[in-house]
C-alpha cells in the first residue's frame, strides 16, 4: 500500500498549487494517476451503467412480451431503446475494455504505468462526466430518442424538437474526447514503455488486440466527431448539412456515422478476443496456436474494418455498384475472424482443458461469436440483407456478437484476473451459476430473434400487433431476459460473498492459474509499484518459460515454482508518478459546457473557466519530485504532460530491494 512506497514529495510549485500526496479514501481516488486504480474506476463505473442499461433492456422486454404492449408508451420506448444502446456500447463495453486495458496493459508489457498518467486519469473522469451528462437527460425529461445511430433528418430539429438529441450529441462528444486521449496514451505506452527484451512480437495477443483497438479509436473518433458537430450545427445554428429542402443529403449522416460505426464494432470485440487469447491457452495448458496469425489477423481486422461501413446502408439507396462493392468487402472481413476462431480451437485441441469459469466464458465467446459471425455473413449477401435489415434478425446478430462475444469475454476476464486485482478468487461454484444462467438466458432471449426477424418482425418499434405469430417467441425472449438478469445477479452475489469470504482466508498466492504472461510476476493483489524490478524478457510467454522447460525428450517439465519466480512486492523507494487534481477538475468543466450549450450560454462560463484553469494548473504543477532520481526537472511551464516513464529507476530499485 502507499505507506510502503515513497511517493514523490510535492515539489516547489510555480503557481499556487502543489501536487497532492497520495493518501487514502476518496481523495486518493479523485487524484489517482495509478493505472490500476483507474482501471478499477472504469470497471466499477461500467458495471453501474451495466445495471442501468440492463434495466432499460428489461423494460423493453416487458413492453414487447405481449402484442400491443402498454408498459411503455411509444415515446418512452424510443428513449429507452436509444439509451439502452448508447449505454451498453459507450458506457459498458467500451469502458470495461478500458478497465482491462488500463489495469493490464502496462503489466503485460512489464511497465510501471502508462506514458501519460495524468492524461490517463483525465480519460476516466471525462468518460464519467460524459456518461453522467448523457444520463442526466432522463432526469430532465429529455432523453434522446433517435436510436443510437441517430439518423438524420429524424434527429434534426424539426422531427426531434426537444433537447434529447442535443444530449446525445454533447454526451458522445465528451466521451469521444476520453476515448481519443486514451488511445493516444496507450499507443505511446505500447511503443515506448515495454520492458527490456520485449519486442512487439513477444507481447501477449491481448496487448496486441488492445493496441489495434487504440488505433481504431484514434482514427474513428474524429469521424463521428465531425458527424456530431454537423448534427449539432444543424439542430442549433440553422446549418444545412442534413436538410433535404435546402439540397442537403441526409445520407451524409449515415455515411459519417457508419465510417465510425463499423470500426467501432471491432473496437467492441477485439478486447474480448484478446482476453480469451490469454484465458484459453492458460486453461488448455498449451501455448496459443498460431501466434503470428493471431496478431496479423487482428491487424487485418483493423484495416479491413474501414472498408465495409456501407453494409449498414444496403437499403438506403446508395445504388447497386456501391452495394455490390461493400457486399464483397464485408464477405472478405469474415476471413481474419475465422482465422482467430480456428486458432482458438486449435489451441484447445489436444490440450489438457481445465473447465474453470473463466474457461467456460471463453468457450461461450467462441461458440456464441461464431453464431453471431455466421448471421453476419448472411447479412453480407446484400440481396438477403434486404429481407433481414430493419428486422429482429439484425438485433439477433449484433447481440450474439456483442453480448455473446464482447460481454462473455469480459466476464472471462473478470474471473481470470480477479485475483490479480483484488487478491482473492471469485467463487467457482457461484461462477458456474453465473455463467450458465447468463448463457441460457442469453440464448433464450436472442436465439428466437433470428426467427422473429425472418418472419418479418420490425426492429426499432415500440410494439407489434397481434395476429402475426410473433407472440410466442417474444414472450420466450422476455423470459430469457430475466434469466440473464438472474445470471448477472449471481455475479454480483459472487463478488460480494467472495470479498467477504476473503477476509477470513489467507490471500491467494501468486499465479493461481499457472498462467503465462508478465502480469503474473507480481504478487496478488498487484502492489502499487507493479514490479519490484523490471523483467528482462527473452521469449513470448516469458512467465511460463521461467516455470517450465523442455527435457531431453521434449516434454514439458516444471523447473521452478511460482513462489520462486514471482516477485514478492516488497520493493521500496520506487518512484511513482504523483497524483493530481487537475484531470478531475478539467473533466468537471465539460458537463457545464454541455448544459450551457443546451440551455443557456451563461452556464458555459464556469465550465470554460474550470477547463482553462485545469489546463494551466496541469501545465504549471511540478511534474514530479524535482529532486527525484530521474534527472533534472526544473519547475516547468511547458505544455506537456511531464510524467515520464519511471521505468528507468530500475537500477536504484533493484539495489535497494530487500533480498528474499
Amino acid at each position: 500500500m502507499s505507506d510502503t512506497i515513497e511517493l514523490a514529495a510535492p515539489g516547489r510549485p510555480l503557481g499556487a498549487y502543489t501536487r497532492p500526496k497520495g493518501g487514502s479514501g476518496w481523495r486518493d481516488w479523485i487524484t489517482t494517476v495509478d493505472h490500476k486504480k483507474i482501471g478499477i474506476l472504469y470497471g466499477a463505473t461500467a458495471m453501474f451503467f451495466f445495471g442501468v442499461g440492463g434495466l432499460e433492456a428489461l423494460l423493453m422486454r416487458l413492453q414487447l412480451a405481449t402484442p400491443d404492449g402498454t408498459v411503455l408508451g411509444a415515446d418512452t420506448y424510443n428513449r429507452v431503446f436509444t439509451m439502452h444502446g448508447l449505454t451498453m456500447v459507450f458506457m459498458v463495453i467500451m469502458p470495461l475494455a478500458a478497465a482491462f486495458a488500463n489495469y493490464l496493459l502496462p503489466l503485460q508489457i512489464g511497465a510501471r504505468d502508462v506514458a501519460f498518467p495524468r492524461l490517463n486519469a483525465l480519460s476516466y473522469w471525462v468518460f464519467l462526466a460524459g456518461g453522467l451528462f448523457l444520463n442526466m437527460s432522463w432526469l430532465l425529461g429529455d432523453a434522446p430518442d433517435g436510436g443510437w445511430f441517430a439518423y438524420a433528418p429524424n434527429t434534426g430539429v424539426i422531427f426531434s424538437p426537444g433537447h434529447g438529441m442535443d444530449y446525445y450529441v454533447l454526451g458522445l462528444l465528451i466521451m469521444g474526447i476520453a476515448s481519443l486521449v486514451s488511445a493516444m496514451n496507450l499507443i505511446v505506452t505500447v511503443l515506448n514503455m515495454r520492458t527490456p527484451g520485449m519486442t512487439l512480437f513477444k507481447m501477449p495477443v491481448m496487448t496486441w488486440m488492445i493496441l489495434v483497438v487504440q488505433f481504431l479509436l484514434l482514427f474513428a473518433v474524429p469521424v463521428i466527431t465531425v458527424a456530431l458537430f454537423l448534427l449539432m450545427f444543424d439542430r442549433n445554428y440553422g446549418a444545412n448539412f442534413f436538410n433535404p429542402e435546402m439540397g442537403a443529403d441526409p445520407l451524409l449522416w449515415q455515411h459519417l456515422f457508419w465510417i465510425f460505426g463499423h470500426p467501432e464494432v471491432y473496437i467492441l470485440i477485439l478486447p474480448s478476443f484478446g482476453i480469451i487469447s490469454e484465458v484459453i491457452p492458460t486453461f488448455s495448458r498449451k501455448p496459443l496456436f498460431g501466434y503470428p496469425f493471431m496478431v496479423f489477423s487482428g491487424i487485418a481486422i483493423g484495416f479491413m474494418g474501414w472498408g465495409v461501413w456501407a453494409h449498414h446502408m444496403f437499403v438506403s439507396g446508395i445504388g447497386p455498384i456501391s452495394v455490390a462493392a461493400f457486399s464483397m468487402s464485408t464477405m472478405f472481413i469474415a476471413v481474419p475472424t475465422g482465422v482467430k476462431i480456428l486458432n482458438w480451437l486449435a489451441t484447445m485441441w489436444g490440450g489438457k482443458i481445465k473447465f474453470t469459469v473463466a474457461m467456460l466464458f471463453a468457450f461461450g465467446v467462441v461458440s456464441m461469436f461464431t453464431i453471431g459471425g455466421l448471421s453476419g455473413v448472411t447479412h453480407s449477401v446484400a440481396p438477403a440483407d434486404t429481407q433481414q435489415t430493419d428486422t429482429y434478425y439484425i438485433v439477433a446478430h449484433f447481440h450474439y456478437v456483442i453480448f455473446g462475444g464482447s460481454l462473455l469475454g469480459i466476464f472471462a476476464g473478470f474471473y481470470f484476473w480477479w485475483p490479480k486485482v483484488f487478491g482473492h478468487l471469485l467463487s467457482e461454484k457461484l461462477g458456474k451459476w453465473n455463467f450458465w444462467l447468463m448463457l441460457i438466458g442469453f440464448n433464450m432471449t436472442f436465439g428466437p430473434m433470428h426467427i422473429l426477424g425472418l418472419q418479418g418482425m420490425s426492429r426499432r418499434i415500440d410494439s407489434y400487433s397481434p395476429g402475426f405469430g410473433f407472440e410466442f417467441w417474444n414472450m420466450f425472449a422476455s423470459i430469457g431476459s430475466f434469466i440473464i438478469a438472474l445470471g448477472v445477479l449471481m455475479f454480483v452475489i459472487n463478488v460480494i460473498t467472495s470479498a467477504r469470504r476473503a477476509r477470513h482466508e489467507p490471500p491467494v498466492g501468486p499465479d493461481p492459474w499457472d498462467a503465462r504472461s508478465l502480469e503474473w510476476f507480481t504478487p496478488n493483489p498487484t502492489p502499487v509499484h507493479n514490479f519490484d524490478e523490471l523483467i528482462q524478457v527473452d521469449s513470448l510467454d516469458e512467465f511460463w518459460h521461467r516455470k517450465y522447460a523442455e527435457d531431453e525428450n521434449g516434454r514439458v517439465v516444471r523447473v521452478a515454482t511460482a513462489e520462486e519466480v514471482c516477485q514478492d512486492g516488497s520493493a521500496t523507494d520506487v518512484h511513482l508518478p504523483s497524483p493530481s487534481y487537475w484531470p478531475f477538475v478539467l473533466a468537471a468543466g465539460f458537463p457545464f459546457v454541455g448544459f450551457g450549450l443546451i440551455y443557456t450560454l451563461w452556464i458555459c462560463i464556469p465550465g470554460a473557466l474550470l477547463i482553462l484553469m485545469a489546463i494551466y494548473g496541469w501545465i504549471f504543477e511540478p511534474t514530479d519530485d524535482p529532486d527525484g532520481p530521474h534527472g533534472h526537472h526544473a519547475e516547468d511551464s511547458s505544455d506537456h504532460d511531464g510524467a515520464e516513464a519511471p521505468s528507468e529507476v530500475v537500477g536504484e530499485t533493484a539495489e535497494e530491494a530487500p533480498v528474499g
Binding site: L191, T199, F219, V223, H255, W306, G307, S322, S647
Partner: protein, 107 residues
C-alpha cells in the same frame, strides 16, 4: 522494433539540422510555388490540365513543409509512419465516400 530501451537522443536521427538559411530557401521555394498556383487563377487553363497541376503543386508544398519544417526528413521514420497512415486512411476512406456520392462524375 528495438528490443532494448534506448536513451532518448537529443535529436533522433542525427544532428544534421538544417541551417536557418536552408529553411529560408525552402520558404522561398514554397512562396514561388504558391505564386504559380495563384497565377493559374489569372490564366485560362482547361480543367483537365489545371486540376492535376494544382494538386501536384499542393502535394509538393505539403511534402516540403512536412519534410523540412516538421523535420520528418531527419527524424525517426516512425513519425512519418503515423502521419502517413492517417493521411492514407483518410484519403482512402473519404475517397470512397466521395465516390459513393458520385463526386468525381457529378460533383
Amino acid at each position: 522494433m528495438n528490443t532494448t530501451t534506448q536513451n532518448v537522443e537529443a535529436h533522433e536521427g542525427g544532428h544534421d539540422h538544417p541551417t536557418d538559411a536552408k529553411y529560408i530557401r525552402v520558404a522561398i521555394v514554397l512562396g514561388i510555388v504558391t505564386a504559380l498556383e495563384v497565377a493559374t487563377y489569372f490564366v485560362n487553363i482547361p480543367g483537365a490540365i489545371l486540376i492535376p497541376v494544382l494538386l501536384g503543386m499542393m502535394v509538393f508544398k505539403f511534402f516540403y513543409v512536412a519534410a523540412w519544417f516538421m523535420h520528418l526528413r531527419f527524424d525517426s521514420p516512425m513519425f512519418t509512419k503515423f502521419f502517413v497512415t492517417g493521411l492514407v486512411l483518410a484519403t482512402l476512406v473519404y475517397g470512397v465516400l466521395l465516390t459513393v456520392f458520385e463526386f468525381w462524375t457529378k460533383g
